[in-house]
Symmetry: C2
Subunit: 358 residues, 2 copies
């Protein structure tokens, strides 16, 4: 007998929902069971595009009331996360929440606490964490011979926006995705910095001069430096004003890692990273070693792998009655803390914010 | 009759002098005529390694007194530049000065003024400016269709040091190369930022948190953000503590330019850069366009092209009695200003330093 699949309810029919819904369909352990929109017609259209078997609800509440829904994928505007994630947790639905998960750390803590109290798994939608390239890169960073000690991380994620984005998109609206570019793309940079640092929080965070805010005060470009006690440092820059770039470089005492598509690989079936170890200038310092390209293939897209990982945690809780895995909420929380601290630094005039140790 | 070559005197037998001396030998318009070291034996050895015709002097003064020397290449520690560059200018020698050219902007102004007064050309040794890749990249940045408006520049130059570098190298000695990593590698990042911005000076400079200084107060790692009035920004990071990396990325409203060997190309015969224009996420935002690689070949190494450019300016002054070209001293000066302002920001506790307009 085939194991039962985790039945997903999708709350909200945002563009990203279409991607993830299709990705869920590719997993071995989960299926899209229902979708909900505030408009039942929109929900029906969305559901029909997936499969005639997918239920369509005209309210989020109805979907959450369906006892057949095991888990929800929630690509709502950030400002709605607290309300609907809490409702979902109270209905014992496991939650795959789009990033950024919350407006504030307090809100996220409330969500995570509700998940823990109700015994449901929490994970945010940072999909690149689940690409098989990511653990390969981590192995390189953990090698004393190939990489050595971590010294600095630099990440730039900029996206080209088109049309009436700056007037109409939810990502520039203070009442919807109030974190703007910092939440939409800076989130990934911050996560990458934490990832490279084994999730050790920096000692201080200072936003860079020249952040760009729209008239409503929403960040459309910004950056910051993170500093650790032992001299490690990291910088990031995120923006809605430049062309697409998704750069990550990690610098160690012996090696360098870099890639330019860390969030969304250029191609679906594989992703590359570049590394060098003990690169030396030769021929009287006039030439040096070209970094090696390492290509990691993947049978499934990273969003599918994310859903599979999440669903397997859900299955494990369902089948063994175990507790939710604390890793995913923990790294969400650290990313959220740094995101909000960057915002604080910007709001307070680019001050250096010292973080309390744990 | 072949045109006479510009006769170079090399002052100081540093490692970089060997490279440039050989590069001078590859030019069509210049030759190494003499070398000077404080030790005549060292000068003789250095000279013999080049050619039996090269004169060897046991003092810098003697070389400067030789009327056959048209121009000097001066790879001395920064602290000695003011003294010897002034002497060279007063002896009517054209000056190709290793970077960073001076300890302070005032010192550099004194040098440049002496060059102008004596009608001799000044150029600093920022060799990557002379690679044929550089104007190709500039053409891309200047294209409204391919690149659009400049938004941000990010550069990271880190070098792996070995052995007793931190105890012995002149680049960590406050009485020799007092600018440390900022002068040795940060100089190139700052120049690249200015180059991408058509040498328009930023409005403000703020050093990043976490600069690393040695016991003598010499910077071994640091970074900064530059901001322009119109929202353009740039960041750089330089360090002696990480592996080799020489990254430059330039982000525009329509295009991206990046390369990872901007100071020293991986290979001698060519250099690549990567660009993309209007890269779009496709297939439901899950894949996107790989940037194009553009390879620019060069028959001569960039140091040779630098010397040729310098020597052709010298010839032009010698033959037509014209004035020195103000472009090269002007961009040296702007780079020096920003270098010293970064240092000021660090010394004053990471303050935001506002630059006076011109």
């Amino acid at each position: 007998m085939a194991a039962e699949k985790v039945r997903f309810g999708i709350i909200g029919c945002a563009r990203v929902a279409t991607i993830v819904a299709r990705r869920i369909g590719l997993t071995a352990n989960s299926s899209v069971y229902a979708v909900a929109s505030r408009s039942v017609d929109k929900a029906k259209e969305f559901a029909n595009n997936l499969s005639s078997e997918v239920k369509a609800y005209g309210s989020y509440e109805q979907l959450l009331d369906d006892p057949c829904v095991d888990a929800v994928y929630m690509p709502l505007p950030t400002s709605l996360h607290l309300h609907w994630a809490l409702k979902a947790a109270h209905k014992k639905k496991h939650i795959l929440l789009e990033k950024p998960p919350a407006l504030t750390v307090e809100d996220l803590d409330t969500i995570i606490e509700a998940c823990n109290t109700n015994g449901v798994q929490f994970m945010d939608g940072t999909m690149w964490m689940h690409h098989p390239r990511t653990p390969k890169m981590k192995a390189f960073l953990q090698s004393p011979e190939l990489f050595g000690e971590l010294k600095s991380v630099h990440s730039v994620f900029t996206i080209a926006v088109a049309g009436k984005f700056f007037e109409e998109d939810i990502r520039v609206k203070p009442d919807l995705d109030a974190h703007g570019a910092l939440g939409d793309v800076g989130w990934y940079c911050i996560r990458a910095i934490l990832w490279a640092n084994d999730y050790e929080m920096p000692q201080s965070v200072t936003a860079h001069p020249g952040p760009i805010l729209n008239e409503a005060g929403v960040i459309t470009a910004c950056g910051a430096t993170f500093s650790w006690q032992d001299g490690r440092m990291a910088t990031f820059h995120c923006s809605f004003h430049s062309q697409f770039s998704m750069d990550l470089s990690v610098h160690g005492s012996k090696g360098i890692l870099r890639l330019h598509d860390f969030v969304i690989p250029y191609e679906e079936g594989s992703g590359s990273y570049f590394s060098s170890t003990d690169a030396k200038l030769v021929e009287m310092d006039t030439i040096w070693g070209v970094p090696s390209e390492h290509r990691v293939t993947t049978e499934l897209p990273q969003e599918t792998l994310m859903v599979q990982e999440f669903a397997s945690l859900v299955k494990s809780i369902q089948e063994s009655g175990g507790k939710p895995d604390p890793h995913w909420p923990s790294i969400s929380r650290k990313t959220q803390i740094l995101l909000n601290v960057v915002k604080t630094s910007i709001q307070e005039g680019l001050i250096c914010v010292t973080l309390r140790s744990k």
